[in-house]
């Protein structure tokens, strides 16, 4: 009899708590960012397509659906680590097909070589190239994401990638790398 009673009481308690928990999970449900959105926020938005997807958003969606997280070359190790943290997995090394050098760069058109074919303009994912048919093109450096998608289409190879120079404004307090020189 006592056993039965105990089971009954415990069962009732379980029911009550279960109901409370169920109610709480509905009532206090937190609408989180969908995973793809969160991944997209981490990606560097160069829209370079080096991951094999047409832009960062499609790759973010693919990652959310189980694509490998180590395909973002411009983001490099940092981005992989952040995505790994988000997904709760071990950060894998960068995909071997990619250049490990992800120092920020901007594209630059060697203007005397440009023949005005507009192919790079069509390739640029962020509309950072100005120019029209048979007119010399130029790159708006501030808008350029350094994706190097314009390099391949150029028939005369007049586009090069230039690393962004270190200036006192963007210097990162790296005291160990200050060149100590005597000028005279």
């Amino acid at each position: 009899m006592t056993t039965l009673l105990a089971i009954l009481v415990l069962g009732c308690m379980a029911l009550v708590f279960g109901a409370i928990l169920g109610f709480a999970s509905v009532k206090f449900h937190v609408e989180g960012d969908p995973l793809a959105e969160q991944v997209d926020a981490i990606l560097p938005q160069t829209q370079c397509g080096q991951c094999g997807y047409p832009g960062c958003k499609p790759y973010a969606e693919a990652v959310a659906n189980g694509e490998a997280i180590n395909k973002c070359a411009p983001g490099g190790e940092d981005t992989i680590k952040k995505i790994a943290d988000l997904m709760g997995v071990e950060p894998p090394p960068l995909d071997e097909n990619h250049d490990t050098d992800n120092s920020p760069k901007v594209a630059f058109i060697i203007e005397e070589d440009c023949i005005g074919c507009t192919k790079c303009i069509q390739a640029c994912p962020v509309d950072a190239i100005l120019g029209t048919t048979k007119q010399m093109h130029t790159i708006i450096a501030d808008e350029c994401t350094g994706c190097d998608l314009c390099i391949d289409p150029c028939p005369v190879d007049c586009i090069i990638m230039i690393p962004i120079a270190k200036t006192p404004q963007n210097w990162q307090w790296d005291l160990n790398n200050i060149p100590v020189v005597q000028l005279d």
Binding site: Q47, I115, P125, P155, P168, W171, Q172, I178
Partner: protein, 735 residues
């Protein structure tokens, strides 16, 4: 509010949290007057010496400049001009190491003084009261005055505030050890300083003027009290000595009891602060028309034989000043610009004095030991909390330090890292000798960069989305246009007018022609070209259509030829097409050839890895293509020639790349490739010869480059033994 004023009048000031009392060491220089030093052999003037942006250059190399002449100019409020500190010649405008902790280089003007020290024409203002506010601000702005206390904020921006000003605070605290430049300036030039304060008083019309000065400068205090004795508005506030009293936020808190809210300027509280040296510069600029070209610099430190305050021209290399003060020639130098608490090490003694340089410190090894001689003494943080006890911003340095090491930017933000004024008090007291401020600076710059990257990424995303939308829109628009046009045509054809009839008949004729031509085509492509260029002279519309068809055919032909050439038939019929085709056709042909060439090279790259005979074949084909192409180009116009040249260049570059790849394999294929390439380029070069000058030049350059590359290749080949087996294999396949 009245109580605040009363409290100030009673000199019963507030206090700020924390603070430290480092050994002062001001006695090294306080007992000597400010010395005027001679003009150095060369002055180096960085274009930007303040917070903001550099102004635009107004002189060029070789220009003779007069003392006080503006060298840069700008209408931008955050741009402050610089002036020639003495008369002389601009000898160079180039990057040089600037006064910045990074030791990086920025654009500097190099002036070689002529020794005459000739002034430009000056307009000395005898009566300041006649000047309007705007005139005064203009004078201050064009004199290039920016804050001289350390940060270097453009003064005209500070004094152009529209806020109602209650307190004008003159900062004479000079709380850093060693520095006595302001002290000496007050003692020797108090009338000018007072003139400057009066000018600021006119512009800002504050209710009260407070001069904050630490009690370790008794003589300067006496001088100031005498000078301001008959001015009710000005009060000299003598403050207890404590570092960092001279910090803007700290001084405001001490004098008024108010805290400047995080992220806003003090002017929103009705407070403007100016450094006392800036007041002197303002007086000089407004009254004597002397722009900011010199300043008092404390040259101090126990390594010097004669530490003293000097009047230094801006742009004077630090080494020159040190020499004047008896700096021994040592193997290892530690030169600090600024005080020992907030100054930074210089990587060179050629760094020039700038507007914000108040001190140059050359300490002896006992005073400030080098981190290299002793090694880093940093040990683990034991959470003793001494750092948070002395932090004037009431931060938690030890927690910041952990988060900075862990790169936890969110936590750093929560701990208000950006309220850190980098005074260095925490690192000064830290028993574990952790370079706390350094960690914060690194973290700050990382966060700043991350923020910028985030902004840029967001921007790129927006632009990418916009582009995608635009492309989609264009596509829909195009489709709709096509649909509309088709419908219109249909409607027109069915309308039964004469026009429609002609159109209809034209279309029919065209269709018939196309059919006929198709039949002909089966007979042989050779005759096609001839036919296309002789269309039946129908009406205009018809001829246009036929022309279009001809063009399309030409394209097809070219494509066919590609196939042909791919099958390794060098005798293509491009020559037949060429004479009859018009300009446009030639261009198309060139473009096609270009495309093909690229495709081929791509193939070659793939093949090259296998290094079998296909490469060889391809290249031969390529050679043929290019030869024909080049020939085709000959009669064409200049533009075409240019395109061809560019293409050739591109190809040469690509070939070279490929060859490099092959060189690694170092088998015979490479050799073949090179020979082929040589043939290609030779033929191309030949073809180009009859063209104009430019083309010839390009050809020459290409040939040259090629020659060089060939030589390199051969060297490489010579270095690596060729593999007989592969060689044979290649040969057998090629036969």
């Amino acid at each position: 509010m009245g109580s605040v004023i009363e409290r100030i009048k009673r000199a019963n000031f507030w206090t700020f949290h924390g603070g430290i009392h480092p050994p002062e060491q001001k006695f090294l220089t306080t007992d000597k007057p400010i010395r005027a030093v001679s003009i150095p052999e060369q002055l180096i003037l960085p274009l930007q010496q303040h917070i903001g942006i550099a102004a635009d250059l107004r002189v060029k190399i070789g220009d003779k400049v007069l003392k006080g002449q503006a060298l840069t100019q700008s209408m931008h409020p955050m741009a402050v001009p610089i002036h020639a500190p003495t008369s002389g010649t601009i000898t160079a405008i180039k990057d040089a190491v600037i006064a910045h902790p990074s030791g990086l280089s920025e654009l500097c003007l190099f002036i070689t003084p002529d020794g005459e020290d000739t002034w430009q024409e000056r307009h000395i203002c005898t009566d300041v009261s006649k000047l309007s506010h705007n005139e005064i601000i203009d004078k201050i702005s064009s004199a290039g005055i920016s804050g001289m206390g350390g940060a270097g904020f453009p003064t005209q921006v500070k004094i152009s505030t529209r806020d109602k000003i209650q307190f004008l605070i003159i900062n004479a605290a000079e709380c850093e050890p060693y520095i006595s430049a302001d002290d000496l300036l007050i003692r020797e030039h108090s009338p000018s300083i007072l003139d400057g304060i009066n000018i600021l008083d006119r512009i800002l019309s504050p209710e009260h003027i407070l001069i904050g000065i630490e009690n370790n400068k008794p003589e300067a205090i006496k001088v100031l009290q005498q000078a301001t004795a008959n001015n009710e508005k000005i009060q000299v506030c003598v403050l207890p000595t404590k570092y960092p009293t001279g910090g803007e936020k700290q001084l405001i808190q001490i004098l008024t009891g108010q805290e400047v809210p995080s992220g806003v300027f003090p002017s929103s509280l009705g407070i403007v602060m100016q450094n006392i040296a800036t007041c002197f510069a303002i007086a000089d600029a407004v009254i004597n028309d002397i722009p900011l070209i010199k300043r008092v610099v404390t040259v101090s430190g126990q390594a010097l034989q004669k530490p003293q305050n000097v009047w230094s021209l801006l742009g004077t290399p630090v080494g020159f000043l040190l020499e004047q003060c008896g700096y021994p020639n040592k193997d290892k130098k530690h030169i600090i610009m600024g005080g020992p608490m907030m100054g930074y090490s210089l990587p060179s003694d050629q760094v020039p004095v700038v507007k914000t340089t108040n001190c140059i410190l050359a300490p002896s090894e006992q005073e400030i030991s080098s981190p290299y001689s002793t090694g880093t003494k940093e040990v683990e943080c034991i959470r003793c909390g001494q750092c948070s006890d002395v932090c004037p911003s009431q931060l938690l340095p030890q927690e910041l330090q952990w988060s900075a090491k862990a790169k936890d930017h969110q936590q750093l933000d929560k701990l208000n890292l950006f309220d850190c004024i980098e005074c260095g008090a925490c690192a000064y007291v830290c028993p574990s000798q952790i370079p706390l401020v350094h960690y914060y600076r690194v973290a700050k710059s990382e966060i700043r960069q991350q923020k910028q990257l985030d902004i840029k990424a967001e921007h790129a995303k927006v632009r990418f989305e916009a582009r995608k939308e635009r492309l989609a829109r264009d596509k829909i628009a195009r489709e709709e246009k096509h649909k509309a046009a088709a419908q219109a045509r249909k409607a027109r054809m069915n309308s039964g007018t004469s026009e429609a009839k002609t159109e209809k008949s034209a279309v029919a004729a065209a269709l018939a022609r196309v059919k006929a031509k198709k039949a002909q085509q089966t007979q042989g492509s050779d005759s096609v070209a001839a036919q296309t260029v002789a269309p039946p002279a129908d009406n205009e519309q018809k001829s246009q259509v036929s022309a279009a068809i001809a063009r399309a055919k030409a394209k097809k032909l070219a494509a066919q030829k590609n196939v042909a050439t791919y099958k390794s038939e060098p005798e293509n019929k491009l020559d037949d097409v060429k004479p009859t085709a018009d300009d446009k056709k030639a261009k198309i042909a060139a473009a096609v050839a270009k495309a093909k060439a690229r495709k081929l090279t791509e193939k070659n790259n793939d093949n090259a890895v296998d290094s079998d005979l296909a490469v060889d074949d391809n290249i031969t084909n390529e050679a043929a293509v290019l030869a024909s192409q080049a020939e085709a180009v000959v009669p064409a116009n200049d533009k075409k020639a240019k395109i061809a040249a560019a293409v050739a260049k591109a190809k040469a570059r690509k070939l070279a790349e490929k060859n490099n790849d092959n060189a690694v394999d170092s088998d015979l294929a490479v050799d073949d490739n090179i020979t082929n390439e040589a043939a290609v380029l030779a033929s191309q070069a030949e073809a180009v010869v009859p063209a104009n000058d430019k083309k010839a030049k390009i050809a020459a350059a290409v040939a040259k480059a090629k020659a060089r590359k060939l030589a390199q290749q051969q060297d490489k080949l010579a270095a690596t033994p060729s593999e007989e087996k592969t060689n044979k294999h290649v040969k057998s396949e090629s036969t």
